[in-house]
Symmetry: C2
Subunit: 352 residues, 2 copies
DNA sequence: CGGAATCATGCATACGTGTGCGCATATGAG
DNA sequence: CTCATATGCGCACACGTATGCATGATTCCG
């Protein structure tokens, strides 16, 4: 290899051979010493460790992968970051992965479909495992991973595909919200959903609807198109346009980001939250806690979710034979100021 | 190597030797054929390509790195994702990197300091280059990269460190905003900043202040602590508490996310935007375009910024000897409904 | 028809690390 | 003093790809 393309910047890399020469031993001895092989004497081990420290040696993760099989890379397939919940999820994944010695390699990010480029990267880099939050076309990913023996864990998504999953008890959480709202005296409900039927949104709709149905009530189902602020805003405008007789007393949106859109639209049209309409969501994103929103919502247990997801992934990285596993974590109702008890008397009262 | 730990999932990997055996040629021939070496005859090349296609061969990026030196990985060091601008930046980087065959490896994400884990990963994985948006402790990263000959490009940050950078013309953009507001008849200004003095925020403050100073005006400088919605909200409450005589006619926040906080606080206290106070920001995040905010702001040229950043990075990956380069891109004023012209007559009018 | 030149391909090795196996030395027992 | 054993370390190779160099086959020209 000519040294012409190396340039001046490429410092002579410190490898096991460098250390071996310096210590007067074989490179294999260095490798064993640094990896704590008991066959190496304590004296030699310490001497080698000292030299390694002095030279600032760092083992090459890529070479190690080639030899050992484990890369320490986990592929990330992320959904629409327009929804802050996924950003929080990403942040938590990055933080927790670091503490476990795993490096997140972004394979995909965004609402659009997974492209061929992603699939190629998944195969080329020896990803030890895959964390998936996007619903769109994730079946391709799961399929490819399954064939290559790469474990997959779905976060916030339950799937019939060959993969494990961790998600919130969407059904139970939405049902609890419905019961809470009924307990506050509400009787006319709107359910705000989207057209894209992710498993998450679907379960939340079902949980809410079923809880109402259990006592013979029904919700007005409204779709905002996409699960976004704009989607919620569009629905909110339709709600605001309703006559006070038709107008729901309480709104449940399948995601906080939609709920915020609903609130903004209602207020823009002079309706007060919660005096005129109670608004609720699901996720508990940071924005929901702002004093201007103070959204009552179902909090997703983000930290435990990610922890459990990485647990599942690591276990399957060590033993690929483990069966798929579905974990459901309970969310908790977080009460804020966007809901209020409605006395029986004011049930027939008009707007304002 | 015992096959016990391979498990049942590890399919026999398709490598160049697999193809070589199948085609009855040497592995080197396969490598050359697939890489378009002109010395291989067209017939052989096509035959090998066919077999590779049939077996679904994908070259191992890690092995290629070990041999060739280039990994195709770029390290990402990201700042606080609480600010949606950085999320948009991330999304754009991921999208554009994919089209250039680069894979983003997340080294750090979040407002907190870069930990040792990050530095280790930077050394262990042979990152071809590094994209940095975080200001906090990025000097360590730049330093380490410099010593190892890894090119660094700072996005949205100008630095005196050994690194190239791409950023918006913060000084000019903020000055333009100041001139625009003065042109609309405003005379009393507030400048909303943060305590952490990132180069970006600093430049915007200077640009705004200097443009005012040029015509003998001054701005009331208010800090919200952190550059976040909450920071802006806190400042907004202080502004709302001022008497109508002291209250600024126009507010410029150094980031959109702060500007939104200011708007929310003002409205919460009964002040109207823009009737009572004009509010402006810098970045043009997606939220700023919401009809409920309609924030007048300086739009950062996100797509060109990322494109230029990757250009710089790629150029230095190929030729590490290139000198550092600083690129400034002009932002553009985006006028929305959060500002309004103030006639001279109403200059002395009170609130409402 | 023979030698040289061109062309297509194979051999060997490097990249950096991990590991099975064999070898040398020291230590113990008989 | 000799043989068996334990200890500590080195040799060689594997992982998958890229590439300098050598080699065989083919062709062209004299």
């Amino acid at each position: 290899m000519p040294s012409s393309d190396l340039g001046l910047a490429a410092q002579d890399r410190v490898t096991v051979v460098t250390i071996a020469r310096r210590a007067g031993v074989a490179s294999s001895t260095v490798s064993r010493a640094l990896n704590g092989d008991p066959r190496i004497s304590a004296a030699t081990r310490e001497r080698i460790a000292a030299i390694a420290m002095e030279l600032g040696y760092m083992p090459d993760a890529l070479a190690r992968t080639l030899s050992g099989g484990r890369s320490g890379l986990i592929g990330l397939v992320l959904g629409p970051v327009e929804n802050p919940f996924y950003v929080a999820l990403l942040q938590e994944v990055v933080a927790q992965a670091a503490t476990r010695g795993l490096r997140p390699l972004i394979l995909h990010l965004g609402a659009q479909a997974v492209e061929a480029e992603t699939m190629r990267a998944l195969q080329q880099y020896r990803v030890d495992g895959c964390l998936v939050t996007s619903a769109q076309l994730s079946s391709d990913i799961a399929d490819l991973c399954g064939r290559r023996g790469v474990p997959v864990v779905m976060l916030n998504r339950v799937t019939r595909l060959r993969a494990s999953s961790v998600s919130c008890d969407n059904l139970g959480g939405a049902a609890e919200m419905a019961r809470f709202l009924m307990g506050e005296g509400h009787r006319r409900f709107a359910l705000v959903g989207a057209d894209t039927t992710s498993s998450t949104a679907l379960e939340r709709e079902q949980g809410f609807t079923q809880a109402l149905a259990a006592v013979g009530l029904e919700a007005l189902r409204l779709s905002g198109g996409t699960s976004s602020w704009m989607g919620g805003f569009a629905v909110g405008e339709r709600i605001a346009a309703l006559s006070s007789a038709e107008r729901p007393e309480a709104v449940f949106a399948v995601s906080d980001i939609m709920a915020l859109g609903v609130m903004d639209a209602l207020r823009r049209h002079g309706l007060r939250v919660p005096e005129d309409v109670s608004v609720t969501g699901f996720d508990d994103i940071a924005e929901a806690a702002r004093p201007t929103y103070a959204l009552t919502t179902v909090s997703q247990p983000l930290v435990p979710m990610v922890r459990r997801g990485l647990d599942l992934l690591l276990a399957r990285m060590q033993d690929p034979g483990l069966p798929d596993e579905v974990t459901l974590l309970r969310g908790s109702l977080t009460l804020r100021a966007s809901t209020r008890a409605r006395s029986v008397a004011e049930g027939c009262r008009g707007q304002r």
